[in-house]
């Protein structure tokens, strides 16, 4: 065991000395390997960011996995009046913390240049977390906002621009025009999506229905609320069945109850970036292969110059196995160093703000940390290439005749 440990450490030391002494040659031969490792690692790393961007964009619209939607209407098109109680009971029974009503409505807002109908979504406080809504300014709704006399509104950046971008610390207000004129306080601003051109805002569902009662007439554009729940993926199917059964049972056969998953994960099959990853990965693999061939070539040429050295080492007790291992380790140590350089370069590329912005297109709020598997993949590739590239020179090295080598 002691001999194995000292042999191993000794071979690594020899390899490192060789790399150190011939650093210029080694560096030149390893540029290809470092570039290829950087490319492979970057592809995997950027893939993770791009995937996160897709996921977050999907979660903003359809909610996180697993998001369930519950839609209820009576056969005559009206909204069941007992739905509030049924909803509350269901949440308590299944201990669901993240749930929200979603009321789509249009609320007329008085701007300085006139009254404008603004698309308004009435929600409960958990909605912000469920849909990954991040604010440019202010904070998302809290339970304390329910008790406000002047309702809180969160407006999009277009809305805020039309207000001339007031400082939220001054508690800017807007006038909501309707049957009753209501003054609301702007407590937050969220970024408008790239395709949005009109003002929009969120209100708490209770506040919205208080100033604009829920319309039960099916002919009216904005109808009754729908209900959303964010539940663990592994129990989502059972909950769909259970909610369907419970709500249908409570409302009877006169009601139409639809419970379904609405998040992206319910529809997404496989990795949408797989083909891109495979293409760039294949190119990186080719670069890696070319780098390895260059490495083998230079190692073989160098070996001819090192025959005497190998003979000297053999005369001092280096076994054939040790020479084989040391020559191979030189290649491995060198490529691992190149791999580390490549991985560091990849980390710097992937985490640079410029690249993050380009890949995420403003869709990512929770930037994933640099994927460990990408770094491991890069280092494994470098090590394997080093071992394979070192194999041929190592085989040549052990065939050197000691006597001839010393006199070489």
């Amino acid at each position: 065991m002691k001999r194995v440990a000292s042999n191993l450490v000794g071979a690594v030391i020899e390899a490192w000395q060789e790399v150190r002494i011939h650093k210029t040659r080694v560096m030149l031969s390893l540029i290809g390997v470092a570039v290829a490792v950087c490319a492979i690692t970057t592809v995997v790393g950027l893939g993770a960011v791009a995937q996160q961007a897709t996921v977050e964009a999907s979660e903003r619209s359809g909610g996180r996995a697993a998001s369930l939607s519950l839609f209820v209407s009576m056969n005559d098109g009206s909204t069941p009046t007992e739905m509030s109680e049924i909803w509350r009971t269901a949440l308590e029974r299944y201990q669901i913390d993240y749930a929200s009503r979603v009321v789509n409505n249009s609320q007329t807002v008085q701007f300085v240049d006139g009254a404008v109908p603004v698309q308004t979504i009435g929600v409960d406080p958990p909605y912000g977390t469920m849909h990954r809504i991040t604010l440019e300014k202010g904070v998302w709704f809290t339970d304390e906002d329910q008790a406000r006399l002047a309702p809180a509104v969160l407006v999009n950046s277009i809305f805020w621009d039309r207000l001339s971008r007031p400082d939220l610390r001054t508690h800017p207000t807007v006038t909501l025009v309707g049957e009753r004129t209501t003054t609301a306080v702007v407590t937050g601003v969220y970024p408008a999506l790239s395709w949005e051109t009109e003002p929009a805002m969120y209100m708490l569902a209770d506040a919205l229905t208080a100033i604009t009662p829920v319309v039960t007439d099916p002919n009216v554009q904005f109808g009754p609320p729908s209900y959303e729940l964010w539940v663990p993926v592994d129990v989502s199917e059972q909950l769909v069945t259970a909610l369907q059964r419970d709500v249908q049972g409570a409302l009877g056969s006169e009601a139409s109850v639809q419970v379904s998953r609405q998040d992206y994960a319910a529809y997404m099959v496989g990795d949408p970036y797989l083909s891109l990853k495979l293409t760039v990965g294949a190119i990186a693999g080719l670069v890696l292969l070319l780098g390895a061939l260059g490495l083998v070539n230079i190692a073989l040429v160098t070996l001819k110059q090192r025959i005497r050295e190998i003979g000297i080492r053999r005369s001092f007790g280096a076994t054939a196995g040790r020479v084989f291992f040391a020559v191979m380790m030189e290649s491995v140590v060198a490529t691992v160093v190149a791999g580390i350089v490549g991985v560091i370069a990849a980390v710097l590329i992937v985490t640079s703000p410029l690249v993050e912005d380009f890949i995420s297109q403003g869709q990512v709020t929770d930037f994933p940390p640099f994927p460990v598997e990408a770094a491991i993949l890069g280092l494994v590739c470098a090590t394997v290439v080093g071992a394979l590239a070192g194999l041929i020179p190592a085989l040549v090295a052990v065939r050197v005749k000691v006597i001839d080598a010393i006199r070489y």
Binding site: S6, N7, G10, S315, G317, A318, A320, I406
Partner: protein, 231 residues
């Protein structure tokens, strides 16, 4: 105590279009612990082949060769390599220092193939060895910055750093001027005596050969005793 025993050793080389060439023929030799043996001979007489056999770098074609009573021909290649590293130190005519490595790294090289204390404390052991050969101020010097005498002293330190029981010197002063050669031989004698190792020197130089206690001559592959000087 006999360290090395050769009896009826021959070494022949197979040639492609010619009958086998006999380089050594019927060599009988005993090297005892602490022995001082010199072997002289003309070029092509088989001196280096004999040195390679003694250094376990080559195997005899026939005959018996024992190292500390162990038949070396039956040892595996790895075991022979390990025995060579442990028991034998080489001093070459051209020094054969590893280029690009400092004097200290050169002396540490044989210790890389040791285990236990010798391996883990190789820097300290190599430093002490270089101090013994008077190069304590040249530890970090590269071979091309050392004089010929200094290079040979580094080579001596490297040959002796693992405490071998047999030192094989192949024309150790061949690349040095007369005065430096004398100094180097004094040093080899001194450290060999201190460590109790046997010294086998192959040389053309009668003055160097004369330092040994047993004088042998190789002539056309046959080893002959020329004389013995009482120790």
């Amino acid at each position: 105590m006999t360290l090395l025993h050769l009896e009826g050793v021959t070494r022949t080389v197979q040639l492609i279009d010619a009958p086998p060439l006999t380089i050594l023929s019927g060599v009988d030799l005993d090297v005892d612990v602490g022995d001082r043996v010199s072997i002289v001979g003309r070029s092509g007489s088989g001196k280096t082949t004999l040195l390679n056999l003694l250094g376990l770098l080559d195997n005899p074609t026939s005959g018996t060769m024992l190292f500390e009573d162990r038949p070396v021909q039956s040892l595996s290649s790895g075991a022979r390599d390990r025995m060579r590293g442990r028991e034998i130190g080489f001093i070459f005519q051209q020094f054969n220092l590893l280029q690009g490595r400092t004097a200290l790294e050169n002396v540490m090289t044989p210790l890389l193939y040791a285990d236990g204390r010798q391996f883990w404390q190789r820097a300290r052991i190599a430093t002490e060895m270089l101090e013994r050969v008077g190069l304590s101020d040249r530890l970090g010097a590269l071979p091309d910055r050392l004089s010929g005498g200094e290079q040979q002293r580094v080579a001596i330190a490297r040959a002796l750093v693992r405490g071998p029981r047999l030192i094989l010197a192949d024309e150790p002063t061949g690349a040095l001027d007369l005065e430096t050669g004398e100094t180097v031989m004094d040093l080899i004698d001194q450290v060999a005596t201190e460590s109790g190792a046997a010294l086998v020197t192959i040389t053309h130089d009668p003055a160097i050969a004369a330092r040994a206690t047993r004088h042998l001559r190789l002539d056309h592959g046959v080893l002959q005793v020329r004389g013995t000087v009482p120790a």
